[in-house]
């Protein structure tokens, strides 16, 4: 009898426990980390670098406070390390970052305003389809040979236009099937001409310039040889570079060491040649955890922090030798998207179930989903509070962001109103039915293994179930998801992310133009000729085409503002949030001016160590 009493007691306890757990299933708003203050307000950026001519040599002069020479900065790169040191061959971030340390471009981006400014070029002027570049006189490659117009013309004609190495630069500047032209006016003047006005071209002028005398023999040996030119096995002495640093040593899977380029053309206000640092080291670390340990152990000087680590380091910061900077929202976008496809596949079947097509193609339905998503809660619970809710197609740090598009709160009432407008109703149990009485049941996919997107999926599912929808959330393997999105097209809703550029919206044309390869919400098969674009798709096509043709920034912004407004209204993508980028750097480094657009070590030549 006594035993039975215990059993009953345990049962009751279990039921109570289960009950309370069920209640707690709803994500709770936990007190989370306060993101570190935004950096822009507290940093006094030095004046812009300016041109000075000394003994006939056109230097670029840093206006940052004068520092001491010497010392090393140790940064890191996650993954397997560089695949090549040839900036024209690199296909991954690490290789590009490391090779671009050694090779400067004609122009660069202003770290704060994002406008193009001269680098290797002394100055430039853009007029519609013509770009006139004047080079610096008397500046040299690391081997002492002068940098002239021949190098520029060679780089563009013989490497980029000729299709050597990674052709993505070339592919992105073809206008109506035609390439721009480049002509040498004199030894220090070059003229670029695009087939018609094409604004994104100016960003391409920050492509590195190659030394003709070092690259020409490799180019002559053909494309196949060029793929292996300046590979990671190259002797560091064989590099002829123009950047602040040149390669000193590459130890596979351990580190890349750069040393200062004694011929660099940027000087300080005392007219001494920069960079201040003797060495710049990139440690190759396998994963984020190891990187954090190395920073904590003092082996790294600068690090990007994420999630829970931010809170921990914020605590450590008080009695430690580093400072944490908040660089603002990331450039990537994360979104929930619908399959608006109404076409049949090769077997004559609809890609999307016709009853679901009715829902997804209904703007009210898409907006209802949007209003039901609780972005704030996701930022708090998934991104540890280190994120910003996102409502626009351009990322929050984009210079083309349409600031008139306001964020709004979650509102189930608005959602329900919108659904009612389109004839949706609810049965007695609260399930959502469309006007033909079909239960609204949707498959939601994302790529398995990405814990952030999986967490978003779970919360989206909960949010939409509040509207009475039935959501089957299935993380699937990345490759099969890509295949569904781009080839088989049999999906309902997907949570995905894309990278973007804060400087040039034209990169998004693959996503937004109706014939784009990544136009995932309404992907048309290759060589599709029928014009079945919706009105707003047509308008976006027009805006993207015109936006690239207009050259003046204010003009362009109008086009891109309108496309963002359409995206904001039509909601083919329901944007979720942008994570914040948080970086830490040791305080012994001076002349550190973090900028949201450029990161923390963009001015590596000006950074110095205070011992």
């Amino acid at each position: 009898m006594k035993k039975a009493g215990y059993v009953v007691l345990i049962l009751i306890l279990t039921v109570l426990l289960a009950k309370s757990c069920l209640h707690a299933d709803r994500a709770v708003t936990t007190p989370s980390v306060n993101p570190p203050h935004s950096i822009t307000e507290e940093i006094n950026y030095p004046d812009n670098q300016k041109n000075v001519t000394i003994d006939g040599i056109d230097y670029l002069q840093s206006q940052a406070p004068i520092g001491k020479f010497g010392g090393t900065l140790i940064a890191s790169t996650i993954g397997e390390g560089p695949k090549t040191f040839n900036p024209f061959n690199s296909k991954d971030n690490t290789s590009s970052t490391l090779s671009e340390i050694m090779f400067d471009g004609l122009l660069t981006t202003h770290p704060v305003t994002g406008q193009p400014i001269p680098r290797l070029a002394k100055d430039f002027s853009a007029d519609g389809d013509t770009y006139l570049i004047r080079l610096r006189k008397g500046i040299k490659w690391s081997d002492g040979k002068p940098i002239t117009a021949d190098d520029v013309v060679f780089t563009w004609n013989d490497i980029i236009f000729a299709g050597y190495g990674n052709t993505s630069t070339r592919d992105s500047i073809i206008v109506d099937g035609e390439l721009p032209t480049v002509t040498k006016i004199d030894d220090y003047t070059v003229e670029f001409k695009t087939p018609k006005p094409f604004a994104p071209f100016i960003r391409m002028l920050s492509t590195p310039i190659a030394p003709k005398h070092a690259f020409e023999p490799a180019v002559k040996k053909g494309k196949e040889y060029f793929e292996t030119f300046l590979s990671t096995n190259t002797n560091p002495k064989d590099f002829v570079t123009s950047g602040a640093f040149r390669l000193k040593e590459y130890v596979p899977a351990q580190r890349v060491v750069f040393e200062r380029n004694p011929n660099y053309y940027i000087i300080n206000r005392d007219e001494e040649k920069l960079p201040y640092l003797d060495k710049l080291v990139y440690l190759i670390v396998g994963d984020i955890n190891n990187e954090v340990l190395k920073f904590e152990g003092g082996e790294l000087d600068v690090i990007g922090l994420q999630g829970a680590n931010v809170a921990r380091f914020k605590e450590l910061e008080k009695h430690s030798d580093f400072k944490i900077y908040n660089l603002g929202p990331d450039t990537g976008t994360m979104f929930l998207t619908f399959n608006l496809n109404n076409r049949r596949n090769n077997d004559g079947k609809f890609n999307v179930d016709p009853k679901k097509q009715m829902w997804f193609q209904d703007k009210n339905f898409r907006q209802a989903v949007d209003y039901a998503i609780d972005r704030k809660n996701m930022v708090l619970n998934i991104a540890n509070g280190l994120g910003a809710p996102l409502f626009t197609a351009e990322s929050l740090n984009s210079i083309f962001l349409n600031k008139e598009l306001q964020p709004y709160e979650r509102s189930l009432e608005k959602s329900k109103e919108l659904l009612k407008k389109s004839g949706f109703r609810w049965d007695k149990k609260g399930h959502l039915l469309d006007k033909f009485g079909n239960h609204v049941e949707i498959d939601l996919l994302t790529n398995a293994g990405n814990t952030e997107r999986e967490a978003i999926g779970v919360m989206v599912k909960q949010d939409l179930e509040d509207l009475g929808m039935k959501i089957n959330f299935k993380p699937v393997e990345f490759n099969s998801l890509v295949n569904k999105l781009l080839n088989s097209l049999d999906w309902d809703m997907v949570i995905m992310g894309l990278t973007g550029s804060p400087l040039e919206p034209n990169g998004g044309k693959n996503v937004w133009m109706s014939n784009g390869t990544l136009h995932m919400f309404n992907k048309r098969p290759e060589n599709y000729t029928k014009d079945d674009r919706t009105d707003w798709e047509k308008r976006i096509d027009y805006l993207y085409t015109e936006g690239a043709l207009a050259t003046d920034f204010e003009n362009r912004k109008k086009f891109y503002d309108e496309y963002q407004a359409i995206a904001y209204d039509e909601k083919p993508f329901v944007y979720i949030y942008s994570p914040l980028r948080i970086s830490a750097i040791r305080t012994k480094f001076k002349n550190v001016y973090p900028a949201p657009l450029s990161g923390i070590t963009y001015n590596i030549e000006e950074i110095w160590v205070d011992k």
């Binding site: 130890v251 396998g286 190395k294 152990g297 990278t499």
Partner: protein, 323 residues
């Protein structure tokens, strides 16, 4: 002469084995749903032409069997092909093999140097306090997962600052003098060696102990003792020589593990060895690199066994008679 024929026979026997191993591994890798180009496909700035070019370059547009044929043909010729990044597989392997060999030979050397005597000691002091203590210690060694142990030691290194946090050399290695360089490498090796040593010591010590106990219990040892031989002669002349035989087989396997045994530990300590390279290659389905390493592993195993068998023939007259 007989031994030569025996070796040749063994080599011929291993050829079909290698073919089967290569077939199975090739198909498993290719049939797994890892698309080496998936990342590129979702990158808005990558054009369709670039994707097609990459597909052709990696041979992904051809049926699997053709891909296998191409790979096998060049493998037989001694060409390991190129990685998905266009680097030569052989150079990639050459960069890493010395590092891994350095780590594994030190570990094997240490474990045998310590493990065998400890095993003998435990067997001789069977059921004594020494034996019990050793059993407890080795049980702990066997029970700790290598991954976990490695992480623990890393945290220890961070907290105390006594050891570098992973890697093999410091960033200013080039500027050091030779003795400094040797110390630097040794300093970096201490933690990974500790992890691997603890793990393999346990197994080896127990094996040795069990073997010797087995032999000590046999009739001929009892006979030798009855005959009045000194305890030293009984153990070191008769018992130990017989107990060591199974250890030689084990040595064959250790040889196979020389190049592939430490992937997890290498990964945690960011050690620039083969294990880490191959782990990364598997994750992105870099077929030539993975195949080269798998084949290398298979060949090392076959060679290791062969060496063990030959050593056995030398040490054990009974096998010689049969062969």
């Amino acid at each position: 002469m007989q031994i030569l024929i025996y070796i040749l026979k063994r080599i011929f026997q291993s050829i079909p084995l290698l073919i089967i191993v290569s077939l199975i591994s090739f198909f498993i890798i290719r049939l797994s749903p890892v698309d080496p180009l998936a990342e590129l496909r979702l990158n808005p700035s990558v054009s369709q032409e670039t994707l097609q070019k990459e597909t052709q370059r990696l041979g992904l547009d051809k049926p699997i069997i053709v891909q296998y044929g191409k790979w096998a043909k060049s493998f037989v010729k001694g060409d390991l092909g190129i990685t998905s990044n266009g680097e030569k597989v052989s150079t990639k392997l050459k960069e890493r093999i010395p590092n891994t060999l350095l780590l594994t030979t030190i570990v094997i050397f240490l474990t045998w140097l310590v493990g065998v005597p400890l095993g003998v000691l435990a067997a001789l002091r069977w059921k004594s306090k020494t034996d019990r203590i050793l059993t407890v210690l080795t049980s702990i060694g066997m029970a700790i997962p290598s991954f976990f142990f490695a992480v623990l030691l890393l945290i220890f290194a961070v907290k105390t600052g006594w050891f570098p946090i992973g890697g093999l050399t410091s960033s200013n290695f080039l500027e050091m003098t030779l003795p400094q360089q040797i110390w630097d490498i040794a300093h970096h090796l201490i933690l990974p060696v500790t992890v691997l040593f603890t793990l393999s010591l346990a197994g080896l010590q127990r094996q040795m102990r069990a073997n010797l106990l087995d032999v000590l219990d046999s009739d001929y040892v009892k006979f030798a003792r009855a005959k009045g031989l000194s305890e030293f002669d009984v153990i070191y002349k008769h018992a130990l020589r017989n107990a060591i035989n199974p250890m030689i087989t084990l040595l064959g396997f250790e040889f196979a593990g020389l190049l592939s045994g430490a992937a997890l530990t290498e990964y945690v300590f960011q050690y620039p060895g083969l294990g880490r390279l191959i782990l990364e290659a598997v994750l992105k389905s870099d077929i030539n690199l993975v195949m080269a390493s798998l084949m290398m592993g298979a060949i090392m195993l076959i060679v290791g066994n062969l060496i063990a068998d030959i050593l056995l023939i030398i040490t054990d007259p009974r096998i010689r008679v049969k062969a």
